[in-house]
């Protein structure tokens, strides 16, 4: 498997008028093409900061981010970023919402438009295309937000606690749906979460960050002996509890 994204010796200091905060220290890891990669760690350890730097939204203090071996410093068109809130624009229809990214990038044409519409069809949202976000349930809104991000055809998707605003039931269903969408579209994913179960059930690898300043504590390979792997059947596998215990202890020592 080829390395798609590499983070090398990354450091991040925040400056404010009161003090200086070292948020990330010497972070090193890489993500392979097609992998589902999760990042967990105590709150305030710098997870969101790390994603924002990878996305190019936040400057780094030192270190490198490489995508397919090339240094990136800006907002890369290879990256899609999905935030915790769905951030749908209430004054636009669902169709117009999913085209928002393309519109911003000036890339609306028949081809990109039909690609986006096909995503809507594929994931059972097409009949809602002329509705407004307020008419949709939380889980549907989150899927619309995902399609908006996928419409720009990113190679890497970043998810920052993208499901934590959903209630438990919906969350299990939506993570399952989204997992399948991402595998189907063959998108490499980096997900930040607080939820150890969510990380185990979806990921190929889980990175554990220490408390602030965040450094890599350990990277775990997650492997299940299941044919049609899905987050839901992972949760029922005996291996699941083993992974859970390991990760839970590792997080617990810090807090």
């Amino acid at each position: 498997m080829a390395k798609l994204l590499e983070v090398q010796n990354l450091n991040k200091k925040y400056q404010s008028s009161q003090n200086e905060i070292l948020a990330l220290q010497d972070v090193n890891f890489y993500v392979n093409d097609g992998e589902f990669f999760s990042i967990i760690g105590p709150s305030g350890c710098g997870k969101s900061t790390l994603l924002s730097i990878i996305a190019g939204l936040e400057d780094k203090s030192s270190g490198e981010i490489l995508i397919q071996g090339q240094k990136v410093n800006d907002i890369s068109s290879k990256i899609g970023y999905m935030l915790q809130k769905d951030c749908l624009l209430e004054w636009r229809t669902i169709l117009s919402n999913i085209l928002f990214g393309l519109e911003i990038k000036g890339k609306i044409n028949n081809e990109t438009k039909s690609y986006a519409e096909n995503l809507l069809k594929k994931y059972n949202l097409y009949e809602f295309k002329d509705k407004y976000p307020s008419e949709l349930s939380g889980g549907m809104r989150q899927r619309v937000a995902l399609i908006r991000t996928l419409a720009i055809k990113p190679k890497i998707l970043l998810l920052d606690e993208a499901f934590s605003a959903l209630d438990y039931q919906t969350r299990i269903m939506v993570t399952n749906d989204i997992y399948h969408i991402l595998k189907e579209e063959n998108i490499t994913t980096i997900m930040v979460t607080h939820d150890i179960s969510e990380a185990i059930s979806m990921s190929d690898k889980v990175l554990v960050l220490t408390k602030r300043p965040g450094t890599v504590k350990k990277i775990h390979d997650i492997q299940f002996d299941i044919k049609d792997r899905s987050p839901i059947n992972c949760r029922q596998n005996p291996e699941f509890t083993k992974y859970f215990d390991t990760l839970w202890r590792e997080l617990g020592i810090d807090e």
Binding site: G80, C87, I104
Partner: protein, 269 residues
């Protein structure tokens, strides 16, 4: 749901609601009628002095002799001064708010000035304005702008600043430029603030125009009121106030209509 599916409870509920609405309207009309009738009768019996207090029948009389008093001309003058003041105040205010949103530096620099100007009673600037732009229509319009401008800037800027940070971040993940963030996120998200400032400004502009007309005293309803007061033509004063009320109501109604149009086109874009 079709008509015959409605349950009896629901029917009764709707009926009660409708009855209450009519009752309120009826009471309002009754109060108005009683007030006017009482005024008329008391004046007729000489219990109140109709020379000082005027009288509904005399107001009506003046009102229907519109042409003899050049009333139409005065109404027109006040209306167009208000509309021009309103348009300039609102558009300029919104434009300045956009500039201040764009440049944090300019916003920080101008903040204390805006705060002071906002709390200053603008009518106090009247004489200065007259000296600067001359005692005429321009002075009145400047007055109307002075009253609505600062409020518009502050209201809109406040709305712009409060735009959901996460939505702006979302737009940035698509590499949106500042101009795109402005036009595709900040402005549409603040449409209701803008419409609100339209509603407030129509009233404020009218206040500006009337106080301007008080000072400049050449034409307009404000002039008529001052003039009527000076020559003790209370019928004229009362009629002017009545018309002013009607003009204000109509202007507010047209802003409501504008709101409907804006919201409508927005939905079907």
């Amino acid at each position: 749901m079709s008509e015959n599916n409605i349950s009896i409870e629901r029917k009764q509920y709707l009926k009660k609601k409708r009855q209450k609405k009519y009752l309120i309207l009826l009471t309002q009309i009754a109060i108005l009628v009683c007030f006017l009738a009482l005024w008329e009768i008391l004046a007729n019996f000489g219990i109140i002095d109709s020379f000082i207090m005027s009288q509904p029948s005399r107001i009506l009389n003046t009102f229907f002799n519109l042409t003899s008093n050049d009333l139409l001309m005065h109404i027109w003058v006040t209306t167009y001064e208000t509309i021009i003041g309103f348009l300039i105040g609102t558009l300029l205010g919104t434009l300045i708010a956009i500039i201040l949103w764009w440049s944090d530096f300019i916003a920080k620099v101008s903040e204390p000035f805006l705060v002071v100007l906002n709390s200053l009673p603008k009518v106090a600037l009247g004489p200065v304005i007259i000296i600067w732009v001359g005692a005429g229509t321009p002075a009145i319009i400047v007055m109307a702008i002075a009253i609505s401008l600062i409020v518009t800037i502050l209201e809109n800027l406040n709305g712009f600043m409060k735009t959901d940070k996460d939505i702006i971040k979302m737009a940035k993940t698509f590499n949106a430029s500042k101009f795109q963030i402005l036009t595709k996120v900040v402005i549409p998200a603040n449409l209701s603030t803008f419409i609100n400032s339209l509603k407030v400004n129509i009233g404020l502009s009218l206040v500006g125009v009337i106080s301007g007309e008080f000072l400049v005293s050449k034409a307009g309803l404000g002039y008529l009121i001052v003039y009527g007061g000076q020559v003790f033509k209370l019928d004229l004063v009362m009629t002017s106030v009545l018309i002013l009320g009607i003009v204000a109501g109509l202007m507010y109604a047209s802003v409501l209509l504008l709101e409907k149009i804006i919201l409508h086109t927005k939905k079907f874009k």
